[in-house]
């Protein structure tokens, strides 16, 4: 029997993997991919909660699914802008390694 907790655990592990990617990797594009993993982990737990809250008509709670829809839209816009920034940065510095892009580092 699959419980709500199983989905939350999968979502938590996926979030931790994405978080580890952001902390460990040095390539900007991989960091952006790990960010996408984290956003999707949040989406998974939202959809699981939506399915868990069945209303009086016997339907899942669609507010959460609309929220997931917004998250996906914003994430797509974020990827487009982020990749454009990476291309502009590559043009100026010839690298996508965060170690070589530390002008603003304190």
């Amino acid at each position: 029997m699959i419980t709500l907790g199983d989905y939350l655990i999968v979502s938590g592990i996926l979030f931790a993997i994405g978080f580890a990617g952001v902390m460990l990797r040095r390539n900007l594009i991989i960091i952006l991919m790990s960010l996408e993993l984290m956003l999707n982990a949040a989406n998974l737990s939202l959809v699981a909660f939506s399915r868990f809250r069945v209303d009086s008509r016997g339907l899942p709670n669609y507010n959460a699914q609309v929220f997931v829809f917004f998250v996906i839209t914003v994430a797509a816009a974020e990827v487009a802008v982020g990749l454009a920034i990476i291309v502009a940065l590559y043009r100026a510095r010839r690298t996508t390694d965060v170690k070589n892009i530390s002008s603003l580092k304190f």
């Binding site: 709500l4 460990l24 991989i30 996408e36 989406n43 998974l44 609309v66 996906i72 487009a80 454009a84």
Partner: protein, 167 residues
């Protein structure tokens, strides 16, 4: 959905998600990300969220991944080889991720409703595109229009960012 299929798709999602972080070659990472998103779309469908599962495949496995691969090929990124790893920083990053994971596990364990199974849905009444549309245009009409403006701003921003300035 049977527990067997749930664990298969959960494993696909998690293993390929870990492969995104572990792979040294950016193209391999991007393709692992596609597989991870497909597994996640199957998990959404197992939760009767068919619309979300399908836009997950269309938007992420389709559009976003093509964008990632295109940029990787455009910049001609190679696998980072022979680069020495900063072990202290890596261990610290991994430790923070593991502490986060432990916290999530302990929260879920002490969360009483997390041990209940999902309530049954009355069969063959799931018309979720219609219901999501009614919710979206009924209760969330203003946020929907704001998101439209956001996408417009992102489009203009990308055009401006990738324009080469005349010198």
């Amino acid at each position: 959905m049977s527990p067997f299929l749930f664990w298969i798709f959960a494993l696909v999602t998690l293993i390929f998600g870990a492969a995104v972080v572990i792979n040294r070659n950016p193209v391999a990472s991007a393709l692992s990300l596609v597989m991870s998103f497909l597994g996640l779309a199957a998990l959404f469908m197992s939760l009767n969220a068919y619309f979300i599962g399908i836009i997950q495949v269309l938007v992420y496995a389709g559009a976003v991944m093509v964008l990632f691969l295109f940029i990787i090929m455009l910049l001609d990124l190679r696998a980072e080889e022979g680069r020495q790893i900063n072990w202290l920083a890596s261990a610290a990053g991994l430790a923070v991720a593991i502490i986060l994971l432990g916290q999530i596990f302990s929260v879920v364990r002490h969360f009483t409703i997390a041990h209940k199974a999902f309530p049954p849905l009355p069969a063959s009444t799931i018309d979720d595109v219609r219901n999501i549309g009614a919710t979206l245009f009924g209760s969330y009409n203003l946020p929907f229009q704001i998101v439209g403006v956001l996408v417009l701003v992102a489009t203009i921003g990308v055009v401006l960012l990738s324009k080469r300035e005349p010198r």
